[in-house]
Amino acid sequence: MAGITSYGAYVPLLRMSRKVMSAATGWSSSAMSLPGEKAVANYDEDSLTMATAAAIDCLNGGSREAVDGLYFATTTPPYRERQNAGIIATALDLRPEIRSCDFSDSLKAGTGALLAAIDAVTAGSDKNVLVCASDCRLGMGGSPQEVIFGEGAAAFQVGTENVIASLEGRYSLTLDFMDQWRMDGDRFNRSWEDRWTRDEAYTKFIPQAITGLLKKCGLEAKDFAKVIFPCIYLREHAAIARRLQLEPEQVQQEMLTTLGDTGTANSLMMLVAALEDAKPGDKILVASYGNGSDAMYFQVTDQIEKVRDRRAIKKHAESRKDLTSYEKYSAFRNVIPMEMGVRGEVGPTMVSMMWRDRKTILGLCGAKCKKCGTPQYPYQRVCVNPSCGAIDEMEYYRFSDKNGKLFSYTGDSLAYSVSPPEFYGIVEFEGGGRFAFNLTDCELDQLSVDMPVEMTFRKKYLDQVRGIHGYFWKAMPPRV
């Protein structure tokens, strides 16, 4: 039976308290009062980098050669033309002979991608498909959306062997309900009346999808260990659970007050959280929301015990840092245009070079000398080991999954950064190899010589001349 074979997630380090937000914009609008905080992507993160991080968590050192499909779901793709999944696949150093696809334009694109992947493996066209979903939606200052939206990512591997949660049933609804929308070129969501969305969408579609699935499968709500559904209204989330006659322990904890509504990733991140606690034999029901709903019924197998070693939601959620400046958040999203200075002027990016060196740049692959075994970055044709120097004896060697230590570092106030100072240091990789990288998700007083670091895929710059997101890898203190 086809289903999920691995899971992973990513939550950015930064959290913003909703008190910070109301202190900043409460004077303009007091309509939305939601407690808690939301996860906020750092200035160098977007849906694509967060999806990559979740995919890495999901792969968890497993074979990348074995992956033969990559689906990426988001409503906030960095590119409108140029496949975003293709960038993730290159960053993950997957084989080029795979099927990749972007799923977009609806919050249920995440569950849509997961269902499509399961269909692909069920049909036998692919054996191992990686699905990731992530969103980085922007609400207008003072809007309910700004308060509600959070940022994060989920990832799954899907297959027919070593399945940890098999898909036993499904039920989908497609309803062109315009609660929120964005036209091409819009930065911010538009929306229709809040009460209409609450009463006519969430309160109706979610129960409709869930009961539809139960009926189709001949099951009752009480048969499920966990039932997962998103709802941006806390009271209605509880009310829906009551209507479905769910016991409190059957309801997967909402993430609205801790991470925010993470869009296409929302119900999938909740599914990851449920799988983290699931026991063999558990039945899990997950319903997404967005222009209808996809409801899925998973049966947890005893294989689940083999995939516990993930950061997933729990460890990522524990690893947090307060972003206390609303202005900084707005500057990160370029809502407040900040002075960059001439050092902030970048580009033009050389696209043909980016293609030629894609394994070096996006894939963080260097070379390993077949004669002396020296790993080196970037890829070299002449071995850098002074006692070797062999020419053209190299094989590609991936550094992105190697841990390292910080050989030296600095915080630079002269270099341009969206969030100065710019941190960088020399990373010495376990197993050999050394190179200078930017550091992210850190403060100066957190850094020390020889401390452990790991690599993270980030947006390094925005080339406004040619309209190109410059992705590369940075080092950071391990999240766990």
Partner: protein, 401 residues
């Protein structure tokens, strides 16, 4: 060991503009000013020059342009061979090396090396945002850290302090001594850009540019030009009663080992270390700490000067702090360093710096350094470090009487 350049070429005339934020001077003005002083000093005319080398600019885009034509056309050189050389901060010294090698080879008798850089037409402080090959959008800048020069050298200090168990407080004080000394010397130099004494406390309390380096740990950024006229050693006295002789010319370029292999300790500069060994051999120097009377080294940052003292064998490894705190490199110390104020006070118009350093040696060796004059120096060493600690080109010149 090849026989080398020692005593084959002499410097018979030099010129050096005032360095600084020369808003009213373009690159042509800088070249003409340095040239005028040099040929007057040598007592020759333009027609006596048989070849010329233009050192730099590295940042060709800043109002100068590529090739050697800027020099040839600014000076209206009469169709003689003119060549531009560029090797980052070693460019000026490369021009000098080219001129010396031409004379030593017998292909000409009198040649000129002129270095220049016009940095202050960029609209901001610090060096321009790297060269064309390293602009963001190129491979080097996508995979490299979004670095600046202060940051890359700051990491030298971070690692040096760690390796030798120096507290940040003590380390910063040592570095402050380096800068305070240079500011003292520079205050006596009418051609320096920064001519103010600065106290150790002011230096230590200055705003941080790249931790642990503060504002006064960084050299200035300026415009300037310097020129040298060289000729065959055996004809030098026809022009000058007290010429200065070239004892050694060495260059070392990184192989990539420090950057990508794992044997580099990031507490020294490998290229300086290697070039120094060859330079001393060429000049016949057995004990650099004893025999080199004075030096002008590449103090782009205070930490660079500190580790350079070790790389040049003036101080033992890990021991430069004792020598700095003991005043060894002060103007009245045993082995003065930066008698003219260094990059610290002159700023660093990249292509010009190497020849500006030789200019100070030329003055000192001939007793013409006014208030800064050292007592009876015999051998002077100049040193340029282009690039960053693990990706550098170093030049060393030794000159003497």
């Amino acid at each position: 060991m090849p026989e080398g350049i020692r005593d084959k070429v002499a410097v018979i005339g030099m010129g050096c503009t005032r360095f600084g934020e020369l808003w009213d001077k373009g690159p042509e003005d800088l070249m003409i000013d340095a040239f005028k002083e040099a040929i007057e000093d040598a007592g020759i005319e333009k027609k006596d020059l048989q070849a010329a080398w233009q050192g730099g600019p590295e940042f060709t885009s800043v109002n100068v342009g590529d090739s050697a034509l800027p020099l040839a056309q600014a000076l209206k050189l009469p169709f003689i061979p003119v060549t531009k050389v560029e090797n980052m901060c070693a460019s000026g010294t490369e021009a000098f090396r080219g001129a010396c090698y031409a004379v030593a080879s017998g292909s000409c008798d009198i040649a000129m090396a002129l270095g220049l850089e016009k940095l202050k037409d960029t609209g901001y402080g610090g060096l321009p945002e790297f060269t064309h090959w390293a602009a963001i959008g190129t491979k080097h800048r996508i995979i490299g850290a979004n670095q600046t020069a202060p940051g890359m050298f700051a990491m030298l200090a971070t690692r040096y302090f760690n390796q030798y168990k120096i507290s940040p407080e003590d380390g910063k004080r040592m570095l402050a001594m380096v800068s305070a000394k240079s500011h003292h010397n520079g205050s006596m130099n009418p051609k320096a850009h920064l001519r103010r004494e600065v106290t150790v406390e002011q230096i230590m309390n200055a705003p941080i540019v790249a931790w642990p380096l503060g504002l006064f740990d960084c050299c200035g950024v300026s415009d300037g030009s310097a020129a040298a006229i060289v000729c065959r050693a055996d004809m030098a006295k026809n022009f000058k009663k007290d010429p200065v002789y070239v004892k050694s010319l060495q260059i070392a370029a990184c192989s990539g080992e420090e950057e990508m292999y794992t044997n580099y300790d990031y507490t020294h500069i490998e290229t300086t270390t290697r070039a120094a060994v060859r330079a001393y051999e060429e000049a016949g120097v057995k004990n650099a700490r004893e025999e080199i009377s004075m030096s002008e080294v590449h103090d782009c940052f205070s930490i660079t000067e500190a580790v350079t003292m070790e790389d040049l064998q003036f101080s033992s490894r890990g021991k430069v702090m004792e020598d700095i705190m003991g005043g060894r490199f002060n103007l009245d110390g045993a082995q003065p360093c930066q008698p003219d104020g260094g990059l610290k006070c002159f700023g660093h118009p990249i292509g010009a710096s190497g020849i500006r350093m030789i200019y100070e040696m030329y003055l000192q060796l001939r007793g013409k350094a006014d208030k800064r004059q050292l007592k009876d120096p015999k051998l002077g060493l100049t040193h340029n470090l282009g690039g960053i600690p693990y990706r550098s080109v170093v030049s060393i010149v030794i000159v003497g009487r």
